[in-house]
């Protein structure tokens, strides 16, 4: 009798609880998602899912759907998808610039609240997520590729860290958020990354590309790798390229007695000569000294450009100096917290750059 009871309990238990199990062939694995704003406050979500085909590479397929909220749009997906959308293997969240202007924190809430979601998904800003995802479908590339591109670009081009969902939120929780998010644009048919979008708290401001963006790589708190090309010492029209590694940063931020925000940045690099179009012979120490000096100057120039842009054009501190002040001098921070924008605009930023050329490559 007793064992019968136990068996009954177990049966009830077993039969009632299979709601959560989902066979692999009843799921569509979503690999990328784009969010856009529709005119009447509706969201358009564009998803790319991977369609497994027997004995073939899975096909990325792009679909779009509308909904009042993202979750609803997610449910609406099943109006035409035969399988349940599965988000755990999502790699990319693309936000349209328009949407990002309204503040990304609320837009990303769905991806935070859902326990199924990964927090190291790439968050990227783009003009039109729709176009990018349809282009990916055309080229049969999955969202994973996009994330890998972002990772490589940030590592090789010195664009700061990859902005994952976790990093975005981590940044938003700093005392003074200094959010920068990877920006993707379409170059013909190919999605490309050559810059970043800057934010005021969580509201999109603008995108910085090209040379102006390069400085960020040196100034963002964590970066490992970057390269600099400058003119040769003797010939103006030829270039010499250095690869910078082992970046060692010392930053100090404080407010002096006059109420001026002072930032002292000292950067130390180890440089590798990567390519030279001039000066066959750089083996003597004098030349190297000269090169180091020129390199310092060039890096300073690049960094200054980005800093100036941030201070004068957009008037937003996206390097995290404010946060640095809070971390080291929380009392000073409290004094200037209210008028930080103006304080930062007039901040005195001094750069000290020290480069060491440690290798000149296989050619003597």
């Amino acid at each position: 009798m007793k064992s019968l009871g136990v068996i009954a309990i177990i049966l009830v238990l077993l039969l009632s609880s299979c709601t959560n199990s989902e066979e692999v062939d009843k799921l569509s694995l979503i690999s990328a998602v784009g969010l856009e704003k529709m005119p009447d406050n509706e969201y358009k979500i564009i998803i790319q899912y991977l369609m497994p085909k027997k004995d073939q590479e899975p096909l990325p397929i792009t679909k779009e759907v509308d909904g009042l909220s993202i979750y609803e749009a997610n449910n609406n997906l099943n109006e035409f998808l035969p399988r349940k959308p599965y988000w755990s293997h999502n790699f990319v969240i693309l936000l349209s610039e328009e949407l990002a202007k309204e503040g990304i924190r609320s837009q990303l809430d769905f991806f935070r609240r859902n326990p199924e979601m990964r927090q190291d998904t790439l968050v990227a800003i783009t003009e039109s997520p729709r176009k990018i995802l349809y282009n990916l479908q055309k080229q049969q590339l999955s969202g994973q590729t996009l994330k890998l591109i972002a990772r490589q670009a940030s590592a090789r081009k010195g664009l700061g860290e990859v902005s994952t969902l976790h990093k975005v939120y981590q940044n938003l929780f700093f005392k003074k958020p200094f959010l920068t998010i990877t920006h993707i644009f379409l170059d013909g048919e190919n999605p490309r990354i050559d810059g970043f979008s800057i934010f005021d708290k969580d509201k999109y401001i603008t995108t910085i590309k090209g040379d102006e963006a390069r400085g960020l790589g040196f100034l963002k708190l964590k970066n490992k790798y970057s390269s600099v090309t400058m003119n040769c010492l003797d010939k103006e029209n030829r270039q010499i390229t250095f690869n910078l590694t082992n970046i060692h940063k010392k930053t100090n931020a404080y407010v002096n007695d006059l109420g001026i925000f002072e930032i002292r940045l000292s950067l130390e690099f180890e440089a590798f000569l990567a390519e030279s179009h001039c000066m066959r012979n750089i083996s003597d120490t004098d030349t190297i000294k000269k090169l180091e000096k020129a390199l310092n100057k060039k890096i300073k120039e690049l960094a200054k450009k980005t800093i100036e842009h941030s201070q004068q054009n957009v008037e937003i501190d996206y390097f995290g100096f404010g946060n640095l002040l809070y971390l080291n001098h929380p009392k000073k921070w409290k004094e200037i917290e209210g008028e930080y924008e103006t304080v930062y605009k007039n901040a005195d930023i001094k750069l000290k750059i020290n480069t060491k050329i440690v290798q000149t490559g296989a050619v003597n």
Partner: protein, 371 residues
């Protein structure tokens, strides 16, 4: 019936699982909520306070190595007051146990099977807890050692693989002053103060060197404290104050960690070992509850009351809180005060003082512990 003998390693593992079984996932969240970036200091403060509780536990053991809490109550305070304290202890146990059950069920539900009815978890835990209690302390103590290994492994894996992800400095130090830190330390003290529960199993402990027992209790508390501190530091270092935004920060940390094995994500692993820990914690609490009630009611065996009492406890647990918000509020704000002002700190303190004052006049009437 032979009394199970619990050796030092098993004692250590019981204390370890008993505290870390639930706190591994929850404690950084509750502490960071209150103390912010100084959460790890709260943990250190909590550990030091918990050591005092540990000392009190040992002081009791030193004087009553063959009795357990219920008998000690009676010997210290006489029959009537002792029994009141004893029944109070049973109620305290049932309340604490019901929160443990609620935590176990809601968090496994949230993470493992979000679409499944929570009732299923209650039934599953009910069955396993009843089974373990029936099998007895011996098997529980030995399995504890295995699960402790699992938990330590999980903990070390998180710590080691988490190092590259650390990027938030733990600054500024004490920016809000000491008060939030002390307030934040309430929760770890109440967690680690649960070491008081081993007063229930004094007669089971191996009758060896008393000094070794002392070392075991204190060392285990220190190790648990280090675990708490490290896991809080890592949560803060990886997530920053984002941790405040998350229901279970440690789980989110585990989600971020990527290792190149088949088991690429650590979150399932941490949940896997957490479920093991919480099951054994529940069972140990439940064993103590049943034992206490059995002694108070002067029963010969505790087997007959296992199932009825389990029904009661699980029903209390099922209806205790409606959602995780209430649960975290209860765990963070109410439970620490409740437990510290009752059986985790105040009453042991009274007991130790009474013992110290009336040391000579403790009733020697031979009431013996029978399992």
């Amino acid at each position: 019936m032979k009394i199970a003998e619990i050796n030092y390693l098993q004692l250590a593992s019981i204390i370890f699982i008993q505290i870390l079984g639930t706190s591994l996932l929850i404690i950084p969240g509750t502490v960071v909520e209150v103390a912010g970036v100084d959460g790890w200091i709260s943990q250190i403060v909590g550990t030091i306070m918990a050591l005092i509780v540990g000392m009190m536990v040992f002081y009791l053991y030193n004087n009553f190595p063959q009795d357990n809490l219920i008998i000690i109550f009676e010997k210290l305070f006489g029959k009537i007051i002792g029994n009141i304290f004893g029944f109070g202890f049973v109620i305290y146990c049932i309340l604490s146990l019901s929160t443990v059950i609620k935590q176990g069920c809601s968090i496994t539900g949230y993470i493992f099977l979000p679409e499944t009815s929570p009732l299923i978890f209650f039934i599953v835990f009910f069955l396993i807890v009843v089974y373990i209690t029936k099998v007895g302390m011996n098997a529980l103590a030995r399995t504890n050692v295995l699960v402790m290994l699992l938990l330590i492994t999980t903990f070390l894996v998180i710590i080691i693989t988490g190092v590259p992800l650390l990027n938030v400095p733990l600054k500024p130090l004490l920016s809000e002053g000491l008060f939030p830190v002390l307030k934040g330390s309430l929760s770890p003290i109440s967690w680690m103060g649960q070491v008081i529960l081993i007063t229930m199993i004094f007669p089971y402990l191996t009758s060896g060197n008393k000094k070794n027992i002392k070392t075991t209790i204190l060392m285990t508390l220190i190790v648990v404290g280090i675990d708490h501190t490290l896991i809080t530091m890592f949560t803060l270092g990886i997530l920053g104050l984002e941790a405040k935004d998350l229901l279970i920060p440690v789980y989110s940390v585990a989600k971020l960690i990527e290792i190149d094995l088949i088991w690429r994500r650590l979150d399932v692993m941490i949940m896997f070992s957490w479920v093991a820990g919480v099951t054994l914690k529940m069972s140990f609490w439940y064993f103590c509850t049943v034992l206490a009630l059995k002694q108070l009611l002067h029963l010969n065996k505790y087997e007959p009351i296992i199932i009825p009492l389990a029904f009661l406890t699980f029903v209390i647990a099922y209806y205790s809180t409606n959602n995780t918000v209430e649960l975290t509020f209860y765990l963070g704000k109410i439970y620490p005060i409740l437990s510290l002002f009752s059986y985790e700190f105040t009453i042991p303190l009274i007991m130790c003082l009474t013992l110290f004052i009336r040391r000579k006049r403790i009733s020697k009437d031979s009431k013996e512990f029978t399992p």
